[in-house]
Each structure stands twice: as C-alpha cells, then as structure tokens.
Amino acid sequence: MTKYPMAAAAVSMLALGLGLGMTPAVAAKMDVSIGMQLEPPNLDPTGGAAAAIDEVVYANVFEGLTRFGPDGAILPGLAESWEISEDGLSYTFKLREGASFHDGSAFDAEDVKFSLDRARAEDSTNAQKALFADISSVEVVDPATVKVMLAKPNGSFLFNMAWGDAVIVATESADGNAANPVGTGPFKFSEWAKGDRVELERYADYWGEAVKLDQVTFKFISDPTAAFAAMMAGDLDAFPAFPAPENLTQFEADPRFEVIIGSSEGETILAMNNKKPPLDNIKVRQAITHAIDRQAIIDGAMFGYGTPIGTHFAPHNPAYVDLTGQSAHDPEKSRALLAEAGVSDLTLALKLPPPSYARRGGEIIAAQLREVGITAEITNVEWAQWLEDVFKAKNFDLTIVSHTEPMDIGIYGRDDYYFQYGDADFKAIMADLANATDPDARTELMQAAQKKIADDAVNAYLFQLARTGVANAKLKGLWPNSPTQANDMTGVSWEE
C-alpha cells in the first residue's frame, strides 16, 4: 500500500499538538463504524480464505454449529448441545429452535446437512476443506437434531466446526452469499458500497439475546495515514487491527481513545526451504535460528508489540511450551554450527511479502544474519507473486510470513507444503492427535509436536503477532484478542 512515512510523521506530530482539547460528540448512539484495512473480496466465508470476510461476517451475520468465544473457548452456536458417542465416531447435535435465516426461512437440520455436505463435496471451493475431511456422513434425525458420523475419531471436530469456513448456510441462498450474505446471526446484511463500506443492521427475529446496536458499518481504509486521520477526525469509532503501531502512543495519550492490545493467532516465522541445500542440513537451520535476536525484531519492526515464540504455537494456548531458550540469540554458537556444517560465504534469498512485519522485520533479520556471516539477499514481492513464486514454486531460501489460522501446527505434516518439511515422525504425532479425545493426552501430543519442530529447527520462530487496536473510549465489548479472525459485534455497546 502507498505509504508516506515522512509526511505521516509530520501529520501525526501536528495532530498531537493541535488535536488535544476537543470534545467528542456523544449521544445515545446505536450505531458503530469500524475501520478495517482490507476490503473483503466477497462476503461468503465458505468460499474464500480472505481474513477480511470473517472479520465482517463471523458471528455477526453467519453462525456455525459451534463458535469461538472471546478467549478462544469453543461455545455452543446453532447447536445448543451435543452428545459424542463412546467411540468418538458420532456427534449428535441438538439444534436451536426458533432460529431463522435473514430471508425469513426457518433454520433446521436440513440446512446443516446441506452446508456440511457442500463443504466436503468433490467440487467444493471451501478453502479449509480439510476441516471436514473426517466426516463420513451427515444424517437428519429430526428437524432439530442432526447426527454427524466420522470415519475416524477426531478430537478437534468441535473446534473445526467453529471456524468461519464451517458456518451454516441455507440451501436457497448459498450461491448468492458472496454478494448478498444470508445467515442466521444477530445482524443482517444491508448494503455493500464496494471499495468503501459494508453495512449491517440488527435482525429483529434473532433466536438469541438481542444485540445492543442497531447498525454496524465496516469502513475500508487501506492507507495507514488515512486510517489515523479517520480515527482522529471521529469518522470511525474503532479500528480493531490498526495498521500503524507507530501511532499508538498518540492514541494512548488522548483521553478520547482507548488502545487495545491483545494476542492474535499469527505465528510469525522466518520460514526456510527445508529441501534446498544447504538448508537441508539441520546445522545450517539451527545456525540461522541462533543468529536471530527476537526481541530486537519485535522492538525494531513491531514497536515492541509481540510475544517471542520458540515453536509454531500460540503462547496464550494452555498447551503452549516455551521453547525460546532452545534457539536463544547466540551468534557465537551460530558461527560454530555453520563451521561444523562446513558452510562459509553463505548467500540466501530472502523474499518478503508486503506486510510491515515482513518488510521491516526482514531488514533487521538480514542485519542479524550478516553478523554470523550469512548474506541475505532481500527481494520484496506482492502477495500474489509470493503465492506463485514462494508458496507454489518453492523458489526461495528464506521468507517471513505470519500464519494466522488458529491451531495450524498441522501444516508441518503436509507433504509439499512450501517449507517442505513433512517429516514422518511428525505426521505420526499428528495422526495420534487426531485420534485422541482425552484432553490430557491431547495436550501431551500437542507439546510433543511443538518440541519436534523446534528440535528439527524447521523454521526460525520469531514472535506471536499482537493485535493492536484503537477504539473510542466509550465503546465497550470489543474482543481484545482474536482467537479467530473476527470482529464479533454481538457484545458491543456504547457506555451510558
């Protein structure tokens, strides 16, 4: 995106000097304007991976059988309760009665069967098709009961059903959801002025607790300077994922605003091409991990926001193990490992996608690698180019990406994934995890998986991306964390 750092700084400084002492206009507001950096390409969460889709519709317009709570816990959604058979192969969901779609049609078990069958069909374009892979059949028991049979036990099935990609859609409206989403949530879609905003309004016949807002507007502002101006001018009430962390201190100093710092599901990693020499040598990969000073990257690239991680797992997850010590910053050791591997004068291609964590972080990492004698040749790429060149063609040595899907350690078991790990032992751990339903056993396996990828130094694990937002100080109920990419507006209200 176009950025003008110098001018932005000038505007910010002036704004700080002149912007104080203004009174915000407060009345009994029933509407809220939320800023987002990216516009969703369409509004169908079952037909695309763009985070912006879920950020508009998740929990607001569409609901699944289960849902994520603000802390990431799995809560009942359209399924009021469920029973799991002894063998873990059948899930019987008791559905909400009185729920209806925004077009007035009733919600029942047929819609659940349709939605799940559609997502796992041969020609499905669901980006997270793997969530449904274990389903063998979906049976309608009665209009308010649905029974899902699994081919093998899957301990994360209820978790899978909470994803935005697993929301329940209606037979009649499914094909039109991209432009005119019809769900069962507390807000219904009202207007999309493309390039500018999406408006949602309260759905009067919602089955659950009524929401406290009449209208929610999501406005799309990609330029960080413009986002800053829009907050300052009072055009927006909140910007939950504010694009310019450098401006946050100014918002902190202003009593009109509250700065919200939370955690996200984004594990930010320096990914390495594990099959490309000399990165196929574990010693070289370890050397790279020891060359990196995580805190320096967090301070330098992220303005101090972010939590160091030592493996591909979210630190706020109860099953997280802190393995940062295992790959602590140690240039001496790094040089020794390189010498042991017999590698000298190493030059690696570092490809950086557009987000600032990658572009700014990449500069710092290149400097840190230089300390141990590795030259990183930086190439900046667009996302589409990154997907083609790095992700698909695997034409890279190093790259920086934040993996923002919740609980996505499973990607290390995929053959042919871009960093090319796919280790057999790791896959075995994942298979055991899928079959395990006992919580303790699951925790143990998740920890084993975390250790395995840290031991193998598959990638250099940098930090967990923070979710840094700004909101009007009188606006209550926004999620501080993002257990999934969402702006759940169901609990949001204006302070009296």
Binding site: D123, N126, G195, A229, D235, H403
Partner: protein, 315 residues
C-alpha cells in the same frame, strides 16, 4: 469533415484492438493466480483446483482473449473473480465517483488558472505577474498527496468542517456527496491549476507579440479589448491540449488522492484488482481508460477546430 471523422474512427478502432491485445498479454505474463490468492496459504489444493475450473482459468489463452473481446463488443465486461459481480457494475459504481471528481477538479483548476494566467500575461513583469508565477511555481512543486494531508489535518481533524475521507454515496444527497469530494478536488486541482496558469500566461504572451495584435491596437482597440477579442482565442490551443491531457490524467491518476481520502474510485479499483490478481477487472478498466483517453483526444481535436477555423479547412 466526414472523411476526417471516418479516418479518426478507423485509427481509434485500431488503437483499441492493439491496446486490448497488449493489456491482455501483459496481464497474463504477470505472475500470480487469482484462485490461489483467494484461497490463501492454508487451502486444500483440490479446492484451489476446483475454483480455477469454476473461474474458467483452465481454458486456453487465445480462447480467453477472444471470449473477453467478444464480451466487450457486446458491452459485457465479464464477472469479477473476487467480487463475483459483473465488472460493468463495479466500474459503473466507481465512475460515479471518479468522473465527478475529475470534472470538479478540472472546473476548479480552470477557474483558478484562467484569471491568474490572463492577469499575469496582461501585466507582464509587474508585481502581480511575479506573485502569480511564484505561487504557481510552489503549486507545481508541492506533491498533491502532501497537500491533501495538510487539508485533512486542518479541515477534518482540527476544524472538523469536513470528514477525513470516504464517500457517503449520491443517495445521501448531492450536497453531501459534493462536500465529500471537495477536499480531494482541491488537492487534485492545485497542481493542475498551477500548470495551466503557466501555460495560459506564456501562450498569451506569445500571442500578444504577434503582428495581428499590433494591427488590432492600431485599429484603435484598447489593450484589454484587443486581448479579449483577438489574443485569448488564439492563445487557447495549447491550453486546450493541456486540459485534455489533465482530464485523462485526473481520471486515471487520482489513485494517490483516492487512497488519502479513501474514496472508492477507479484508481483504487484497479490497484486492488492488481494486488488480488482480479485480472478481468484490471483488463476491463484499463481498456476503458484507454478508450476514454482516445475519445478525449478526439474531442480536443474537435475543439481545436472550433477555436481555429484554419484547422478545419486544412483537413
């Protein structure tokens, strides 16, 4: 005149065909696949393949080109890969912002530039001339996005007379819509007005030195009468050329200003479509802009003819 129009029409069509081919091939050569962009990095490869099939991306290249051109000829621009709505709808929405903004900025720029340029030329080397030249020098030098941010700072953040950006839509009323376009139009108009005023001045000064001007004065016309009746019309040709160029520039090139004021105009549509590899949108908007530029150039040619009868006869 008819033969002239016919010739122009043929060259216009040939330009369009050449442009369409170049645009299509360039867009195809750009690395990146719309389907993988939409499905993200956690996607199931089978689902990506299914989407490619659904979007018609697996058809051979020449077939897709012909399909696109055939659609264009029938006024069908195709369906956007990402938005999943007809491209014509997307363009229509955006043109409703970009075109009024362009005209607004062009009107402002002309209203400032004409008096300033004429005044400066009429009082050559006076203090007025020097201050106009100084101001326009500054106007050309200031980047318009910077000027835009200063406008936002003063009028939106501090005075709160305007909102910092966005567009309420024409449904919100003409006044509200025009109000939201005012700051962007001023930001766009300032540099253009400066250029135009300088062109106006120098063109007028050249004309004032012509023999026919001396004749006009000798006939007994006052300085200002001679300027109004004889010089102005003759000085207009280069000015019209610049206005024509500015129109195309403003229509296609407002993207930075659109970003500063987060206006959903054509520039942002193209920019977003390029990052998302929504190639069908990029192609269609670009060919439309090419078309607009060609038509504007044509209209400017006609305007020359109106301003200078000699040009009509020569053809």
């Amino acid at each position: 005149m008819t033969a002239y129009l016919l010739r122009r029409f043929i060259s216009l069509s040939l330009s369009l065909v050449a442009a369409s081919l170049v645009i299509f091939l360039v867009m195809e050569a750009v690395p990146g696949d719309p389907a993988s962009f939409m499905m993200g990095i956690n996607a199931d490869p089978a689902a990506v393949a299914a989407l490619r099939e659904q979007l018609g991306l697996n058809e051979p290249l020449p077939l897709r080109y012909l399909g696109w051109v055939a659609g264009l000829l029938q006024g069908d621009f195709g369906v956007s890969y990402t938005y999943r709505v007809p491209v014509s709808e997307l363009i229509a929405e955006r043109v409703m912002i970009s075109l009024p903004l362009t005209l607004y900025a062009l009107a402002l720029s002309t209203l400032i530039a004409f008096p300033a340029g004429i005044l400066a030329a009429a009082r050559r080397n006076s203090a007025t001339d020097l201050s106009v030249m100084g101001a326009t020098q500054l106007g050309v030098a200031i980047p318009n996005f910077w000027f835009a941010m200063i406008l936002v700072l003063v009028f939106a953040i501090n005075l709160r007379w305007f909102s910092a950006g966005g567009f309420p839509g024409w449904d919100a009323g003409i006044l509200a819509a025009m109000k939201s376009l005012t700051l962007p139009a001023i930001a766009l108009a300032l540099p253009q007005a400066s250029i135009l005023a300088r062109v106006m001045r120098s063109s007028l000064i050249d004309t004032l030195d012509e023999d026919f001007m001396r004749t006009a004065r000798a006939k007994g016309l006052s300085r200002s009468q001679a300027l109004r009746r004889h010089a102005l019309r003759n000085a207009l040709i280069p000015v019209l050329t610049i206005i024509g160029l500015q129109f195309s520039f403003l229509l296609a090139g407002g993207i930075i200003i659109e970003n500063v004021f987060y206006l959903p105009g054509l520039g942002r549509l193209v920019f977003q479509a390029i990052t998302q590899r929504d190639l069908i949108v990029v192609r269609s908007v670009v060919i439309l802009l090419v078309f607009a530029v060609i038509v504007v150039t044509f209209l400017v040619d006609l305007a020359y003819a109106a301003a200078d009868p000699r040009l009509r006869r020569r053809r």
